[in-house]
Each structure stands twice: as C-alpha cells, then as structure tokens.
Amino acid sequence: MVVFDNISKSFGNNVVIQNLNLNIKRGQFAVLIGPSGCGKTTSLRMINRLIEPTEGTILVDEQDVSKVNPVDLRRRIGYVIQQIGLFPNMTIEQNIEVVPKLLGWPKEKRRERVRELLEMVGMNPLQYCNRYPSELSGGQQQRVGVLRALAVSPPLLLMDEPFGALDPITRETLQDEIKKLQTDLGITIVFVTHDIDEAVKLADIIILMKDGKVIQAAPPEELLSNPAGDFVREFIGKKRLRANYDVDLVREIMNAKVFTVTKSKGFAESISLMRQRNVDSLIVTDDDGKFEGVIPVEKLREIAGKKVINTIGEIQPEKITTINLNAQAREAFDTILQEKLPYLIVVDSKNKVRGLVTKTSLVKALAGAVWGDNADDE
C-alpha cells in the first residue's frame, strides 16, 4: 500500500532521512516510532507530500506520489495530527464534511455521511452536529478529527501522534476505537508515536527509527521478544525503568475512572450516557453505589424492543465476578485468564464499585513486572 523506495531527505546540510526503504502492506496498522528527531514525522509527511523527499520514490497504491497532483493526493488520504486542527470557525458537521465538500458531494450525501460517521463512534448527531470544536473535550475533538479524516472513506490514514495531547484514560479509549475502526473498515494506517506502549498495543508492524534510518521493523511480539540490538532493547525498556514501585495490589493496576449507573436511573438517559461514554455495558449499582451486576448492550437492545422500561432497576443485571481492591494483583491476572473475562469489576469491602481491571491494565502491569515498572505516564 505504501512503499518507500530508497528515500532520502535533507534540509540544507542536515540529513534527516537516509536511504529509507519501507513496505507497508494493505490493511496493516504500521507504527513509526523512535526518539525525537529520528525522522518519523518527516517520513509520514512525505507520504501525502506535505514534505518532498530529496531522493527516491514513494508509492501509494502502486502509484508514484510525485506524479500525482498533491491536492488530489491528499484528498484521497486521511490525515490526523496531534494538535487536532479542527477549524474553530466551523461546526462539527462542517468540519467533517470539509473533504466531501472539496470533492463536490451533494448536500444530502454529505449530511448522511456526517451522521453515519458520528454514530459510528457513538456520538449523537443531533447533539453534536451544530456544536463548535471549542465546546468539546479534547477526546471528543480528536474523535471528530479522526472522523473528518475518514469522511470520504480513504483506504489509507496517516496519523501524526494523534493521541499525544490527551489524558491517559481518553487516550486508551481512542486507541481502542481506532484499532476497531481500522479492523472493521480494513484500512491501512500509518501512525507516528513516541510511546512504545501505544505502539505495542496498536501495531501490526512497528518500525523503530533512529537518525533517519530504520533500526528494526517487526511485529510487536517479535520486537519485544527479539530486539535487534542494544538501542532497541534500551528504547523498549527505557520508559519502563524510570519508576520502580512494585505492583502488588489490584488498586494499583485498576482503572479508577469507571462509569456506573444506579438502578433508579432512567432507561433512556442511561442509553444516551452509554453512547456518550462509549461503553458497551452498563455497570449497575444500588443507590449507595454497591455493585448489583452488569447489563450488556445487546441485552438492553433486546429488552427495549419487547417492552417499555422506565428505570434500569427493572432489568435483571448479570452477576459477574468481582475482586476486592486490596486483593493481590496476581489474583486478578489468574481470574481474568482462567475465566476468560474481558474485565473484572473492582469493589471495596462494602461492595462499592471502585474501578475496573481490563486486559490492557494487565498487559501494562505485566510489562511492568518484566521490565520492573508499571508507569505509563508518558
């Protein structure tokens, strides 16, 4: 899908890319990573010709990009940047329809597409279409930034540290979303980051760069298990060696921002909250916050189709396994692995919901155990 054939780039006497060869296959999630100044962003920006290479050829879809009008090229390739860059003078709808408009789509088709896209990420079109970027949180803004890039269904999406400015929890949600979008839509993504955790989580192939050269290009498992040389080992390890407190207890690895509803909450309101927070099951508590069970979204839909429901309390929630927040983290690992659960609800001694342990939190903690740290505050 994207081929770098012997690409070099210098700014004056400063060589930033040297004889770079890459082959990113269709449908791959390729992550360019490396220390700052390694040339990862320059490489990305050469794909849509925001920067022109000094030497070599870049092929997108077997077509030499230097032979394509840059404006036409860019309209066919999605582009997402760290600063988000939603136009502040345009509404969410106007932002998303920028490229469709440039391509002359009729109004009805554009409207429909905007609605479709917003619904895809669980944002209610009625609620968001006429809002302005400044009225949205950073996470929502970047969600729209991604939608804007996907508006004309480009087969290729370029993302330049898209989640770098977001808080850790939002970042994780958006990572999950983009991975899911990429798989569902079967698109190719070239993604720049400096966060190895992010790379490991998202990539089909990680391209580790240094001083304008590729040091290792491999799937995450291979990169972790078989690092090519000291630099790679150091780069993977560095971030995890900074802090060194032990991971003993569940409370230390759980995600404390958990979305719950009480039984007395209205049904319609809960549904809309679920959409907003983009969660796929409701964690139900009684009025004191004590855990009652969970209701998966499928069940909600099924029941909603059959009878009129006023409050959440009318639906019998499913009991699932919980774990105490002061339990050993190891116990959480074992439970999740043995019972093949997507997540565990963390409760305190009064059975109040306090957090959530997900597979991601496990991977992080596990990585911490291997490399001696669980920090991911990058």
Binding site: N48, R74, R76, I81, Q83, G85, P88, N89, V99, S134
Partner: protein, 217 residues
C-alpha cells in the same frame, strides 16, 4: 452660553449638515480605499514574512508623520481641495488595517493550515475557508482603529480646503466664537465615538461562534 449655542446652531444648521456630510464622505472614502489596498496587501505580505515585517516597520515610521505635515507635502502635487484630503487620509488609513490583516492572518495557528493542507485544500481554499474567517474580527478591528484616526484627521483637512467639520471648528477658533467651536467639535467627537462603537460591534458580530467562547476565556 446655552442660548448662544442654540442660536448659533439654528442659524448655521445648513452649514453644519453640509460639513457633517462632507466629513463622513471624506472619512468613508479614505477608509474604503485604505481597506481595498491594505487587506490584499496584508494577505500578500503574510506569504513573505521577511518583507512583511519590513514593510510594516517602514509604514509605521511614515505613520508618525503628523497629518498636517502630510497634507502640506501633498499640497503642491494635488492642490487645494478635497482630493488632497482624501489621498492623505487614505495613506494614513492603510497602516492599521494592513497591520491587523497581517497579524490576524499570521496568528492563525499552523495546525489549522497543516490540517487544511493535509486534507487537500489548495492555497485559495485555505485562505477563504480557514484563514480569513478566523482573522476577520482582527481585520475589522483594524478598520475600526483606522476609522477613528481618519475621522480625527479629517478635521485637520480644513487647512488644505478639504471641507468637513474642521471648517466649522476653524471658523469658531478664528472668530473666538465658542458656540461655533462646539458646533464643530461635538458632532466630530460624536461621529468618532459612534463609529468606533458600531465598527466594534461589527467586529464582534463577525467573530465565528466557535471562536467567541475560546477568546472569552
């Protein structure tokens, strides 16, 4: 004093209306010409920031020349009369509009330009859909500053026979007629204050809704 003023006002009403009309006409023409020159020039200069800075520096120096001197310098070339006034005032109105156009457009965050380019907008589309809408309130503020200056300096245009409210003030000063002075000075002041207020409102009105909240913070 008050009676005196009203009597003068009454007997000179036609003259006042004529002078006021002339004043508005001179100022409006000068600011309109100024904007027609300054806005495109300001936009063009953002494309060459090195020259842009220098042009603005040179114009800032020219701007420090008192208006009376500027009228005097132009006089031998353009003669006594309204054209001299309009030409001099047009020159003065350029700088504030030019400077605000230049900074307004230059201050548009690079991330918007990068996003626009990356999505396949061409230069003209970025200018008209992104840069100008975001910079418009700043440009209009430049027009407001220019208008206030120009209304002020148009009073001095009387020395080159430009007409306007300066004529009335000048007659009042020459005849030591206080009522006459006020009859020129008060309308001129009100004209400047009202214009400033109205154009200020326009600047607010053209601020894209999505930016109002951001700027208010």
């Amino acid at each position: 004093m008050m009676n005196d003023f009203l009597a003068t006002l009454h007997s000179n009403w036609d003259r006042l209306v004529g002078a006021f009309g002339a004043h508005v006409q001179i100022a409006l023409t000068a600011v309109a010409f100024g904007a027609m020159i300054a806005v495109p020039l300001g936009i063009a200069l953002t494309r060459y920031p090195k020259i842009g800075q220098k042009v603005i520096a040179v114009l800032s120096i020219l701007q420090t020349i008192p208006s009376m001197v500027m009228f005097g310098i132009l006089l031998p070339f353009t003669g006594i009369g309204r054209p001299t006034a309009i030409i001099a005032l047009t020159l003065y109105s350029i700088l504030p509009i030019l400077r605000n156009t230049y900074t307004g457009i230059s201050d548009v965050s690079d991330s918007y330009i990068d996003a626009g380019k990356g999505m396949g907008m061409n230069g003209r589309q970025i200018l008209f859909r992104v840069e100008l809408p975001i910079a418009l309130p700043v440009i209009v503020t430049g027009i407001r500053i220019s208008s206030v200056y120009i209304i002020s300096w148009a009073t001095v245009a009387t020395i080159v026979g430009g007409g306007g409210l300066g004529d009335i003030i000048f007659i009042g000063v020459a005849r030591h007629n206080h009522a006459m002075i006020l009859m020129g000075a008060i309308p001129a002041s009100l004209l400047a204050i009202t214009t400033s207020f109205i154009v200020g409102r326009i600047a607010k009105a053209v601020t894209p809704r999505g930016l109002r909240r951001e700027r208010a913070r």
